[in-house]
């Protein structure tokens, strides 16, 4: 059933959100976001199958490209952070507050 795929996608998406809001490790947070994108991709493909149109496939490719671009930048930032503090704790980076 297509719905099963979609529900799986929802579960993965929610787990991704959970990762973002509960973890302090920069990598984990970032990978959780990737997980959310993957969940979206799954939904795209499921819908694509549902409608039997291949537009969804193209969209998935685009999302992947965006994910890749974001990943490149995010990793560059992670390196920068590590240079500054040697830590990957997001809570360490709270100089800007109040």
């Amino acid at each position: 059933m297509i719905q099963d795929y979609l529900i799986l996608s929802v579960i993965l998406f929610c787990l991704g959100i959970l990762g973002v809001i509960t973890r302090r490790n920069v990598f984990t947070v970032f990978m959780s976001i990737e997980l959310m994108l993957n969940a979206a991709n799954l939904a795209f493909l499921a819908f694509s199958r549902l409608h039997e149109s291949m537009d969804g496939h193209v969209l998935v490719m685009m999302v992947m490209a965006v994910a890749a671009a974001e990943a490149a930048l995010a990793l560059a930032v992670v390196i920068l952070l590590h240079k500054h503090k040697g830590k990957l704790d997001t809570n360490v980076f709270s100089l800007l507050r109040g």
Binding site: V20, I21, F93, L96, G98
Partner: protein, 637 residues
């Protein structure tokens, strides 16, 4: 005809211009090199004398007209006109106002002359005459005004001048306070006047707001509004003419220079209330209830003031209370619709009270501003002219037969009796006796007996002619003014009453001659009783008694001033400081303060949420999402 009418406008103008000129002269030069006093004196007297002259012209002009057409009116210009309200700067000379004019200008001129002597050497000589002229001008506007609003101009003007003149010696705080008191109390009255006018306007004034139109429309007045208007106007009169409960300012007003007391607080300004009631006789005659309230307030004031007068030791205070008391008589008269009697008493009172004040002024002048009668004594040898004239004044005031006061007072008492106001009559007779008592108490203590203060006594002498001549002229008036309105029983023909008749709405009751005789006999008896008691007690010199018991109560004027202070003045101040110290910062401003406080607190509180953690920011987002999802899930069904 035309010309005479325009003259009316000039009558008040002369003193006003005089005031302006004198004021400017004084204002511009007083700190450097003032003009000589003589110049001021002459300039000051020009205005009143010219006015007096014109007043005579007007009088004779009116006299030449038939009784029913005896009025001249002149609208100088439209003062203001808004909607139905049309107020002209108009002047009206009719028998009533012409009579007032005559004696106001006459006595005013005399007092001006007198003051030249009295004020000699004062550094504010010019200012004094400027004020005096201004006062006279205002009084003339009051008298001549063709409608209530114009009258109000003069009404307030005299109040202002009274303030300025009472606080003339302004370095002394008490004097200024007395001035303030006078002005404020007068203003309380003025409030009544303004409100009365306003109600009157909306009731009957929309077709013209001058006396003639009002008189023509007076029948449209409903009793409720009518009585309200009468009473409100009477509050104004109470303020100006020092009746209960607003009489308190007048005794204090004696702080001013004595000629001022003579002019303002005896002869002219204080009678404005009586004049006003007489002016509005067409209202008061319509509503006897209002009239009798006026009469009762008047006679009670007369009683109270006479009572206070019996215990005073300041010569001017005695005269002040006597003024209040006499004013009470006048109100009693106008209250019972005996308008001409009231006005006649105003007329005679102007003479003898001005005389008494000026005489007292001479005494004070001679004794270097000593006013305590217990410090005087035996002055009759030192100051014969003063003594003689003051004696005449005292006799007139006390109602000694054949003096002017006798006729006017008798006219009032007779009217009270004749119109059935027996209570007023009884009190009136009593007050007559008391008047005789306190007047002669004063005369005896001042002029008879042994000198109590030798040093003062030695320096005393009669005033210069510029002061004594007015005294003598006034004395003649005080003695013989009564002749002008001699009642039938004395072979006269009530000249003044007849003269006034076209201006007033009054009915002369026809009563038997016996009642008239009864009235005369009782007043003479009262006079005799009063003077006898006074002679017994003070005729041969007496020492200042200790005031005890009731006398102390009377001497302290029943503590009315203190009560007023405690009931009105102090609470007023307290409310003021409560407002500015407590209410204003803590209560009225509370909405501002509260908002500010909340605002700042909220700002601080919200700062806490900006923790700086990415995770927390994400949590905010997700919480928001979550709430919205809940909301949207509802709408999905």
């Amino acid at each position: 005809m035309e010309h005479t009418a325009t003259y009316i406008g000039l009558i008040p103008l002369f003193p006003l211009v005089g005031a302006l000129v004198l004021g400017l002269m004084h204002m511009l030069t007083c700190t450097k090199n003032p003009f000589p006093e003589k110049l001021y004196g002459i300039l000051a007297c020009v205005g009143p004398l010219l006015s007096f002259f014109l007043a005579l012209v007007v009088y004779y002009h009116l006299k030449g007209l038939p009784a029913e057409e005896r009025f001249l009116s002149h609208n100088a210009f439209t003062w203001f006109a808004v909607g139905d309200l049309q107020v002209n700067m108009g002047f009206l000379a009719d028998p009533l106002s012409s009579l007032m004019l005559l004696f106001v200008t006459f006595i005013g001129s005399l007092i001006h002359i007198y003051s030249i002597g009295y004020m000699a050497g004062d550094k504010n000589f010019g200012k004094f005459f400027a004020y005096l002229n201004l006062f006279l001008g205002s009084m003339l506007i009051l008298v001549l005004g063709s409608g209530p609003v114009v009258m109000f101009v003069g009404w307030e003007g005299v109040g202002l001048c009274s303030y300025l003149l009472i606080s003339f010696y302004s370095e002394d705080t008490d004097n200024v306070l007395a001035g303030n008191k006078a002005f404020i109390v007068n203003r309380i009255g003025d409030l009544g006047f303004v409100l009365g006018m306003s109600f009157l306007f909306w009731a009957i004034g929309t077709h013209g707001f001058d006396y003639l139109s009002l008189k023509a429309n007076a029948h449209n007045l409903t009793p409720g509004i009518g009585i309200a208007v009468c009473l409100l106007l009477f509050i104004g009169a109470c303020g100006k003419s020092a009746q209960i409960p607003l009489y308190v300012w007048l005794p204090d007003a004696m702080a001013g220079p004595t000629p001022v007391s003579a002019l303002i607080h005896a002869a002219t300004m204080v009678t404005a209330g009586v004049y006003m009631v007489a002016r509005f006789s067409f209202l008061y005659a319509h509503f006897p209830l209002a009239g009798s309230i006026v009469a009762w307030v008047g006679i009670l004031t007369a009683l109270l003031a006479a009572f206070f007068g019996m215990f005073q030791k300041d010569i001017k205070k005695i005269l002040a209370y006597s003024t209040v008391s006499q004013l009470g008589y006048m109100f009693a008269a106008v209250g019972i619709a005996a308008y001409s009697a009231g006005i006649f008493h105003v007329f005679t009172h102007a003479f003898f009270k001005a005389l008494l004040f000026l005489g007292a002024g001479s005494v004070i002048y001679a004794l270097h501003h000593q006013q305590d009668i217990w410090k005087m004594g035996g002055l009759k040898d030192k100051m014969p002219k003063t003594y003689g004239t003051m004696l005449i004044g005292a006799l007139a005031l006390s109602g000694a037969p054949l003096f002017s006061g006798f006729f006017s007072k008798d006219e009032i008492l007779f009217s009270a009796l004749a119109s059935g106001h027996t209570g007023i009559w009884i009190i009136g007779v009593l007050v007559a006796g008391m008047t005789a008592y306190y007047t002669f108490r004063m005369i005896f203590l001042v002029f008879h007996g042994e000198p109590r203060d030798k040093e003062i006594y030695d320096h005393a002498k009669d005033a210069p002619p510029v002061m004594t001549i007015p005294l003598i002229i006034l004395a003649v008036g005080a003695a013989f003014a009564g002749v002008l309105n001699l009642p039938g029983i004395f072979g006269g023909s009530l000249n003044i009453s007849h003269w006034l008749a076209p201006s007033l709405v009054e009915h002369h009751p026809h009563v038997s001659i016996w009642i008239e005789i009864l009235a005369i006999v009782t007043s003479i008896a009262a006079f005799a009783a009063g003077i006898t008691i006074a002679y017994r007690k003070f005729g041969h010199g007496a020492e200042e008694p200790e005031y005890t018991g009731f006398a102390k109560f009377g001497y302290n004027k029943f503590y009315v001033d203190e009560i007023y202070n405690a009931v009105f003045v102090q609470p007023y101040k307290a409310v003021g400081s409560v407002i500015s110290k407590f209410l204003e910062p803590n209560v009225t401003d509370i909405h501002v303060k509260l908002c500010t406080w909340l605002y700042q607190k909220a700002g601080k509180a919200f700062k806490v949420f900006q923790v700086g953690y990415i995770r927390v920011y994400a949590i905010y987002m997700v919480i928001g999402l979550s709430l919205m999802s809940l909301f949207l899930s509802q709408s999905l069904k």
